[in-house]
Symmetry: C2
Subunit: 215 residues, 2 copies
DNA sequence: GTCTATATATGGATAGAC
DNA sequence: GTCTATCCATATATAGAC
């Protein structure tokens, strides 16, 4: 079948077409990953969804793993731009409810907005050999900032439930797993409900000072 | 190579040998799953580790999934026997620190003692198509008891951070993911440290009433 | 019931024309 | 750069002898 070779106003140069194909593959991967996930998706699924050929795929990516890396790079660029709007000094105090909520909300929003990528990344991590320790390593890496904030809080005199590294990993585990498992169909207001609940749970736990419901 | 056909005192009946082979396959699967995990393990990896043939495998299990189901059944039988030692009435109050810790400790211990199985089960769940909602469904199922306890606590007048179902899922997500990611090499005393930290975090959160360290 | 040997299916990856 | 056609590696599952 004939495929549009210049759907945009861009000049139909060889270079521009390559970029177009690459973008089409990335976009198709996002679509396919959100349904079938990363592990069950075959290269041919992506190329079929993009309307390209298998051979063309390998002109842009060495394999499926490299495709995922490119998607992660895109996401991080986008997330960094988003984060630049907020100030993120190191001296955050996560024992302050508002600041804790802000962090949870940002993490949750990024996971939601880039769901196909985070889902794929999560699957890829889990599929690694358990003996390799990659899951633990990944958990530590993704919670580095969180850990630093906790260390700061502790230095300020707030005693923590445990070592900052462990607490950060626990929180990261909760957010990551919940973000993966939560259906894509939840509404924005549910997102708020979830962020509020997680914030309260992590801020003051199950016994924190909350008003008893009126009954 | 010659393989022992009657390593035990049992009579070498056809039936006994079948049971022996089945047990050998299950034991081999535990060993292999703990290193390479469930997803990356091939049927031939299991049979090779068990010293049996591929053809023999299919005499006992229809496929890898059924092998895992058999391992889960074994684990649940073992866990139930273990749980029978404690009383588990429905009227537990997880806002009580000791009772919360008990629950976390049991969950953590089961995950540790049956690590190959829980790891395999976790991988199998994650590998399912994200669009199927299996991860969310699994999370709800595995936290049913937890949810009931939380509902009880709430009925007793303890306000929770959110809906019991969501809070239970969040706690389950934390425990499940952390149990998966935590290296198999941690020492028993580290297990205690982890259980204590998680208990404190979930009980009173990051700001709960704890003594400031002497400094 | 267990074995060896093999059929079958799948998907990753490449060659060469356009 | 993109395509079609194809090679090739891998793993599931079965057939048939013992």
């Amino acid at each position: 079948m004939a495929r549009a070779t210049a759907t945009t106003a861009k000049a139909n140069t060889r270079k521009a077409q390559a970029a177009e194909t690459r973008a089409a593959l990335l976009a198709a991967a996002r679509r396919v990953f959100s349904e079938r996930g990363y592990l069950n998706t075959k290269i041919t699924d992506v190329t079929a969804a993009a309307g390209r050929s298998t051979g063309s795929f390998y002109e842009h990516f060495a394999d499926k793993e490299q495709l995922l890396q490119a998607m992660i790079a895109e996401m991080e660029a986008s997330a960094d731009a988003h984060l630049a709007q907020h100030d993120h000094p190191n001296d955050h105090d996560l024992t302050d409810r508002a600041q804790l909520r802000e962090h949870i909300a940002i993490a949750w929003t990024v996971m939601r907005e880039h769901r196909p990528v985070t889902v794929a990344q999560f699957q890829s991590m889990i599929a690694a050999d358990p003996g390799s320790g990659r899951a633990w390593q990944s958990l530590l890496e993704q919670t580095t900032t969180l850990r630093e904030h906790l260390e700061y809080s502790r230095a300020q005199g707030h005693p923590l439930p445990g070592e900052p590294q462990l607490i950060a990993a626990a929180i990261g585990a909760m957010l990551g797993m919940l973000g993966y498992a939560t259906p894509a169909t939840v509404q924005p207001k549910d997102d708020d409900r979830i962020v509020d609940a997680l914030t309260d749970l992590l801020h003051s736990g199950l016994t924190g000072p909350r008003q008893t419901s009126p009954q």
